[in-house]
Symmetry: C2
Amino acid sequence: MRNIKIEIEYDGTDFYGWQFQPGLRTVQGDIENALQVIFRNEITIFGAGRTDTGVHARGQVANFLIQHPMPVWTVKAALNGNLAKDVRILSAEEVSESFHARYDAIKRHYSYTITRQEKAIDRHYMWCYKSALDVEQMQHASQLLLGEHDFSAFCQVDEKMKHYRCFVEEIHWEQNGELLILNITANRFLHNMVRIIVGTMINVGRGFTQAADIPQILESRDRSNAGPTIPAKGLCLEKVYYRDGDGNRNGTGGGDEVFY
Amino acid sequence: MRNIKIEIEYDGTDFYGWQFQPGLRTVQGDIENALQVIFRNEITIFGAGRTDTGVHARGQVANFLIQHPMPVWTVKAALNGNLAKDVRILSAEEVSESFHARYDAIKRHYSYTITRQEKAIDRHYMWCYKSALDVEQMQHASQLLLGEHDFSAFCQVDEKMKHYRCFVEEIHWEQNGELLILNITANRFLHNMVRIIVGTMINVGRGFTQAADIPQILESRDRSNAGPTIPAKGLCLEKVYYRDGDGNRNGTGGGDEVFY
C-alpha cells in the first residue's frame, strides 16, 4: 500500500469539527467523501488532532493508504477539485507505510486570537474581549505552565485518558494592534486545553486570579479551579511537527489520545 | 442639526456594495435601516467611497445629520446593536455641520491582496493567482503611475465624469509569505481603477506588458490597452483621510464623483 501524508488548511466555521460524525459536515468526512469520488473506494484518513466545532487549522496533518498508482501531485489537485473552498490541501507527499499522522506527531502548535475591538473582517477567526487586561501578568502566569505538568485542571474530563501529563515547550502572548494572540506548543493537548488556559489567563488579566495561584490550580487537578472554556472560533491548529521531514515512523511521538 | 461622522469596517462578501439599491442588501442600506430603528426617522448617510459588490472596508467613513440629543458614544453602541456582525461601527464623533464625508476627503488608501496559494482561511479577503510573477518589474511599472495622470485607460467609462485626473501619492507592492499586497493612496479613485491597475501589473509580472509601456497606456486614455478588471474580493478600502482630525469642512478635497 502507498501511504499519503497531506497538510490541510480549513476554515472551521461551517464544520462540526474534524472527526467524522454521521449526518454532520466534518473535515474528515468531507475529505473521505472526496477520496471516495477519486478512488471509488472507502478510504479512512488519520488526522493529527481532532479539532472541535468551529476550530480552524492552518497546518492540520493526516495520512491515508491507497493502492492506486496516481502521482502524488495529482492526488493533491484531485482532492482540491473535489473539496469545498473552506478546506484546502496544502501539500501531499508519499511517506513510509508505517507513518501515522497522530501517533508520530511529536508536537503541535496552536494559536488563540483575541480582538480588543469588534471586527467585521476576520470575525470568524477571533474572539472579541473588550475589558481591560493586564497582559504583563498574563504573560507571567503563562510561563508557569511551561514544562511537564498534569493538566487535569485544564481539560474536559475523559474517562478513556490514561494520563493528563503534557509537556508545554512554548507559551507566549503577542500583541499586534487590536489583537492579542497566544501561541502555545506542546507534545500533546487535552480536550479544550487551550481554550481553558486562555480563559484562565483572562481571569489573571482581569485580576480575578493571581499569577501566583497557577501552580496550585495545576496541582489541584480540579477543573473548577481553572477559568472558563472560551469560544472555539479564536483557536487555530497552526502546525504539527514530526521527527523528520519524510514522515518515517519513529514511535517517539507523544501523540496518542490527543484531542485539541 | 448635529452632524455625526462614523468610521465603518465591513466584510463586503454578502453585500451588493456600499450604495443603496432597492431590494438588495447594501452597507448604506443596512446602516440607514439601523438609523431608522434607532431614531424613528428616515436618515440619509453620505459615504466617502462607493465600494462595489464584494469589496471590503477597514476604514470607510460616512456622515449623517440628526436632531436627537443622544450622546455620540451611544449612537455607536446603538448602531452596532442594530447591525449584522459583518458591519461594525469603529467610531462615531460629532463634527461641524458643514462636514461631508465624500467632498471633504483629501485622499483614500486601498489595498489589494493576492495569494500565491489557494487558502481556506481568509479566502474571502484575497484573490488567488498562482502563475509566476516578476514582482520587481511590477514594482517598477507601478512607480510610473505616481503623480497626477489622466486615468481614463484605467477605469470603467462613466458619462457623468467631468475629468479622469487622479493624483497617486503612494503605490507599492509588499510581499508577505504567500501574500502579495498592493497599497495605493490617491486623492480620488475612478470606477474599477484599483482592480484594473492590479490586472495591468499582473500582465507586467507575466511579461505580457512591459513596464516601459505604462506611460503609453496612460497617454492612450484607452481602456482596451490596460489589463483585465480582476475580482473584487481582494480589494479593501483601508482609510479615508481628511485635512484635520475634527472633520471641519475645508473644501479642498479631491472627492467629488469618486467611486472606488
